[in-house]
């Protein structure tokens, strides 16, 4: 197991240097002439109005919750998928029950309009 992750470690270390080296080269090459007008927040050429904090749609949050639940469901389904060919038939039925139960949750959300984007 460790052997298989060794390569990831080496690749990760090398990949980590790529953005660092790129930023350093760019820092050496590029002009640096900051001035206050340049560093203002961009807002189509006018002065920024108010705070950046805009009304955050709660819909995003609902999607994130549903996403987390289905992500965890997938984690449980992957071992099932690997072992599928060797499992007894009743296991298959239980796995389907597992999926259908979650699908019910999704249907509830659908009925409540939680999936709908306005």
């Amino acid at each position: 197991m460790l052997q298989e992750f060794e390569f990831l470690g080496v690749l990760g270390a090398i990949t980590l240097t790529i953005p660092v080296v790129t930023l350093i080269i760019a820092w050496l090459l590029r002009p640096k002439k900051p001035n206050p007008a340049k560093q203002e927040t961009y807002e189509s050429g006018i002065k920024t109005i108010g705070d950046t904090w805009v009304q955050f749609k709660a819909q995003y949050y609902i999607y994130a919750i549903i996403f987390v639940v289905f992500d965890i469901e997938a984690v449980f389904l992957f071992p099932f998928a690997v072992a599928l060919r060797q499992l007894p038939l009743y296991s298959l039925i239980w796995a389907i029950v597992f999926i259908v139960l979650l699908f019910d949750g999704l249907l509830y959300g659908w009925r409540k309009g939680a999936l709908h984007w306005n």
Binding site: I65, A83, W94, Y108, G109, K112
Partner: protein
């Protein structure tokens, strides 16, 4: 004595790097005045824990840790922060009136944990897992642990319905 490269304790070095991530991240979570930074430190800490799983030859758990915590729960936490707080706030006050109460509790908890770590004999096996661990997990999920497996499904649907129900109120308040 000639230098023998196979004696480099790679596992120990990786362990220390991962511990630095996990503990450094954890300290960052509680000490950073900015909530967004705290959440990112949490990601670092969870990443360190994923490294532990790799060292323990639990590759599946390591990847799941990355996928669920970094890919999903961290995003949810970040959304929740932006949902509830003003952005780029000048930092939260890190103490409140009850800080003196939490101090002894934390001390006691720490003492208990140190006691537990020292008294329990931790069974350690140097053996590598045999066979395909994911396959074994699949057999376990739908064999001896079938009932917990189904309970997980119910738990997840309850979480889903509960989450939708609570967040829905906010949506309706927004639309009204």
């Amino acid at each position: 004595m000639p230098f023998d490269p196979s004696q480099i304790p790679i596992v120990q070095i990786v362990f220390f790097v991962m511990t630095a991530c996990a503990i450094g991240g954890a300290i960052g979570v509680v000490s950073s005045p900015n909530l967004f930074h705290s959440a990112l430190y949490l990601v670092l800490s969870l990443f360190g824990v994923a490294g532990y799983y790799v060292l323990l030859s639990a590759g599946f758990l390591a990847v799941v840790q990355l996928m669920v915590y970094v890919g999903a729960i961290a995003i949810l936490i970040l959304f929740a922060i932006m949902f509830a707080r003003r952005l780029m706030g000048q930092g939260e006050n890190q103490n409140n009136q009850q800080w003196w109460l939490s101090l002894p509790i934390v001390m006691i908890l720490f003492a208990v944990l140190v006691g537990v770590v020292n008294t329990v004999s931790w069974p350690v096996s140097g053996a590598e897992p045999t066979g395909d661990t994911v396959m074994e997990l699949g057999h376990a999920f739908l064999g001896s642990y079938l009932i917990p497996f189904e309970v997980v499904s119910i738990l997840l649907s309850v979480a889903l319905i509960g989450g939708i129900f609570l967040a829905r109120e906010k949506v309706e308040a927004e639309e009204a």
